[in-house]
Structures are given as structure tokens and as C-alpha cells.
Symmetry: C2
Subunit: 305 residues, 2 copies
């Protein structure tokens, strides 16, 4: 199955203790689609300004990402500026220039409306709802969001969560959305909105995935060098959804395997600035790290002694 | 194999958002030995004052813990007072009355000196070194510590870590001890001191275990109700070391299995105040939760498709 992703394409200016990237390629849909493109066909819906360079478009095309849905309108491309401290866990936003994002009206090309898999990356939940109205009968839908929308448009966001199959958000956001300090309670509360699965991202601590009657825990890969965490969550989601779309296996086992592929992709992405690691990543490397995840987490069954 | 544990036996006064326990049974050696007693014979070395009630001694005896090494001296028992906020991750110490702990000189009864397994719970590293000098030829030694000793006696503590097989500390302490923000680098630095294994406790995020050439990640059990995290780390260490002492299997597989038993024990302990959950815990419950940990973490091998 192919995937349609709706989100942002951006310029990022990022500072970490290990260096600085100025006006580098970023955006939720960029990271998501690049990561997913290792597993399946991806079509991208987003907006950029007149300043968006051909070089970046060429990179996305080189990943065979369909850009029919990428609008180019007068004005400047969305620009995010942020900084990470030594713990690399949370970005401090220094500046947000929404620019053309203020006029973004996601319009799915006709051929995208039959998509079987849809991912709504982090954008205004009212736009996410408009996108959901445009797809015909997707087999699998999922969304991400962020604290800004949780505080400014909680009702629209909850409506999105009611309508998608899988919600992907980070730990702090799950707590904020539900007002529950306990993560298991927060998860139950989100699932009770109507989605089937909740994936909670916990940064360097990995991921928890909840359904009404199961929990799965996957660690993050313990890396000795983390250069830039920007886009890790979107790269994770891209690997997760991309692998799911590829196999079409929505059994608990199938979804767990896809989740680990998501963690694998995120673990590569943080090894370099922007999408630099993705640009030189090969599929054999991905499979090798999946096997290493097995080694990282496996322990013996309990035998009767 | 049996275990000797050296540490504290204390009164705790603990406040969490879910209640308050006043002058309840606590202390690192208490939690450790109770947890380990589900798997092997335990001998406890610690000090209490004249105010320590028979009731608590009876409880420890009911767990078949050998109390020959428990000194009772004039004065009051060590008393810790602390509080946890809603996130339950870190205790705020409100008061520490060291009392008889100030005069503690760990003296191993002769029969303890042949022990095959020794655990040095969190006490002054200079006392930990004195204990190491008293044991003859243990097959397995391990230690815990805390931020207070890292800042006040780093050299003595590093000497302990040089001399034991396994170091068990929490994440923040590993970073503090080494001055490394990256946990993998911090782990390598601690292992280079001379211990064979490092177990890093990460609270609700689980545990990472490092050797010079392997890493193992185990999640914490996702609990809907956490009442009191006090003693979770010592209960974890007790289950881990207790199971290891029971099996004597120091292979990577054997140690991983023991680590998961440690996580199982900690997950029970936080379900109630003080050692209340331990008091009504049964071995079948422990095995059932071990199996649930398998279900929590298992995912498919990668097959060629």
C-alpha cells in the first residue's frame, strides 16, 4: 500500500552542543516521507514558498516521493529555529516563522483520495480534519500533534483522534492532553476517544504502544553519538507507517515489528544533522540494526526448574 | 548460593500524592533482603537503634533472613523523611536523621566471610571498602551508591567500583559520576574503572545493562497505580542479585533473566507503601509477571520476504 502524508516542509536552523545547521531542510512531512520511502511509495502534501530550492526537491524525488501535492505559493517557506542542550531531550524553540504555512489549505490531488494509508503529521487539527474529509476509504489512518494544538485547539484535536486508527504523540503531550500524570491512565483515556492504538514516544527511552488490551515497550537504540534529535519523531513515524503500509499486516505482531522499524529509522536519523544520515542510509543497514534491536531486548523464557 | 547484604535499616516517613506513611519500615538493606529472600538465603548486615520494634524483626525473620549481622546499639534508628510529587520520579528529601548510622562499623560475623555473593547497598563507600576487605573469595560482588557519595567521596567510590563485579546505579548518578551527558559514554567510562557490568536504573523507563561488548534494555512494567516508589531500586537489586545467586548462572543470558526478575520485583514494590506489597507477594505472582514482561517486550524476528 502507498502512503499519503500531510504536514510541513520547512527550513530549520538548529543548534546542538555538537554543531549548528543553518537553513537546513526540515519539516514533519519531509522527515516522515523520507523515512517511509525506504519501505513504500509516498505522496507528500505540504506547502513551500518561492525560496524553496530545487536541490531539496531533487532529493525528495530521488527518494521517489510523489510531489504532486506539494504546493508552491508566493512568500517564504516555514522556518523553525531551535536549540538543544546537553541532554538533547527537549528542543527550545527560539523562533517560528510560519510564513506560507499561514495560508496552507491542504488539497489532495484527485489520485491521492483513494489512498489506503494516510498520515497526518503535526499541523493544525482543523486542517487534519479537512484532510480526513477528502480521503475515501483508507484502510489505515494515523496522526501526530504537539503541545501547541493541545492547548489552543483541544476539541478539534480530540475529534481527529476519534477518527484515526492510530495516534502517535510524545509522553508529555499524552499527559497534557488528558491531565493524567500516570501514563497508563493517560493512554486509556486517549484510546477511549475512539482510536485503536496509541503510540507514545519517549525520546531516548523508546516507545510504548497501547491498545485497549495490550502494551508493547520498545527501547530506543543506545547511541554513543547523538548529533541532532530534530525530526526523530517524524522519522520514527515514517518508518513505522512505511513498514506497515509495505506489509499490510495489521496484526499485533505485525504492528510491533513495524514499530521497531520506526525506532530503527529514528536511531539513524539522530546520528547527523538534518536529513544527512538518511541521505546515505542503505536498506541493509536498516535490517542489520533491526537485528541488533532483537539482541538489545531479548531475554530467556521462563522454564520450570 | 546465599547472599550477604550490607546497607541500611531505617524508619521512613514518606508522602506521595496518594497518601502518607509515618515511621514505616524502610532502608536499602531491608528492601534488598526482602526482595532477594524470594529467591535465595539472605544474611543482613546493618545497624538499628534501641527504638527498632520487634514487629519488624519478626517480619524479616518470617522471610528467613539471617539477622546475626544486624547490630542493635544505643540510640535511635536512622530516619529518612521524603516526599514525591505527581511524577513520582524523584524523591525530595525533607529530613535525614542519621542517628546510629553515624556509628555504623560493618562487622561481618565469621560465618558471613565465606559468602559467595555480596551486595553493598548504598552506604559510605569507605565502609563498603571495609566490607570488601572482610570477605574471602566471593564469586559475585555488586554495589549501589548515591549522589551524596559521588560528590563527597568520589575516589573511595571509584575504588569500590574497581573492586566489584557489578555496579548498580541510577541514570543521573552515572552521568554525575563521569561528567558525561551521553549515557553510553558514561557507561563505558564506569566499566573502564574495572567492574564487569554496569546496571543503570532509569525509574519508570526501566533498566539498561552494559558490559564492555553488550547492551541489554529492559522496560519497567507500565503500572496504572504507583503508590510509593521508595525502595524500588533496592527491591530491583534484591530480585536481580537474589535470582542470580539462586541460579549461579553468570552467562549473559542468565544475567539478563535475573535482571528481568529484578524489574518484576520492583514493579510489585511500588504498588503499595513501604514493604506492604512484599508482605503479601507470592512466588506464582512473580512468575506470572515475568511472563507478562515477555509479552510486553517481544517482537518478531526479521524474516526474509
Amino acid at each position: 500500500m502507498g502512503i499519503v502524508v500531510v504536514g510541513t516542509v520547512a527550513f530549520d536552523t538548529v543548534e546542538t552542543p555538537f554543531g549548528r545547521g543553518e537553513n537546513v531542510l526540515g519539516g514533519s512531512a519531509t522527515y516522515f516521507s523520507t523515512s517511509a520511502s525506504f519501505f513504500t511509495d509516498v505522496s507528500l502534501v505540504a506547502v513551500v514558498g518561492e525560496d524553496f530550492p530545487e536541490e531539496h526537491l531533487q532529493f525528495l524525488r530521488s527518494r521517489e516521493i510523489d510531489l504532486q501535492g506539494l504546493q508552491r505559493i508566493p512568500g517564504k517557506t516555514f522556518h523553525w529555529t531551535g536549540r538543544y542542550g546537553y541532554d538533547l531531550n527537549e528542543a527550545q524553540t527560539l523562533d517560528t516563522q510560519l510564513n506560507v504555512l499561514l495560508e496552507f489549505k491542504p488539497e489532495l490531488p484527485t489520485s491521492y483520495r483513494d489512498t489506503e494509508v494516510l498520515f497526518l503529521a503535526n499541523i493544525d487539527p482543523e486542517l487534519q480534519l479537512q484532510v480526513l474529509d477528502q480521503v475515501k476509504s483508507p484502510k489505515l489512518t494515523a496522526c501526530d500533534s504537539m503541545n501547541f494544538w493541545i492547548s489552543s485547539k483541544p476539541e478539534a484535536l480530540k475529534e481527529v483522534m476519534r477518527r484515526v486508527d492510530i495516534v502517535v504523540i510524545n509522553e508529555g503531550e499524552a499527559r497534557m492532553l488528558t491531565g493524567e500524570a500516570n501514563l497508563v491512565k493517560a493512554a486509556r483515556s486517549i484510546i477511549s476517544l475512539g482510536c485503536k492504538r496509541l503510540v507514545v514516544k519517549r525520546g531516548e527511552y523508546g516507545v510504548l504502544m497501547f491498545t485497549a488490551d495490550s502494551v508493547f515497550a520498545a527501547p530506543a537504540w543506545p547511541l554513543e553519538e547523538v548529533f541532532d534529535p530534530t525530526g526523530a519523531g517524524d522519522t520514527f513515524a515514517g518508518g513505522f507507517m512505511g513498514y506497515l503500509a509495505n506489509t499490510g499486516d495489521l496484526s499485533e505482531e505485525g504492528v510491533r515489528q513495524a514499530l521497531v522499524f520506526g525506532s530503527v529509522m529514528a536511531s539513524f536519523n539522530v546520528e547527523d544533522f538534518s536529513l544527512n544520515r538518511m541521505k546515505r542510509l542503505s536498506y541493509p543497514e536498516i535490517e542489520a540494526r533491526y537485528r541488533s534491536f532483537k539482541g538489545l531486548t531479548s531475554f530467556r523464557d521462563l522454564r520450570m526448574t
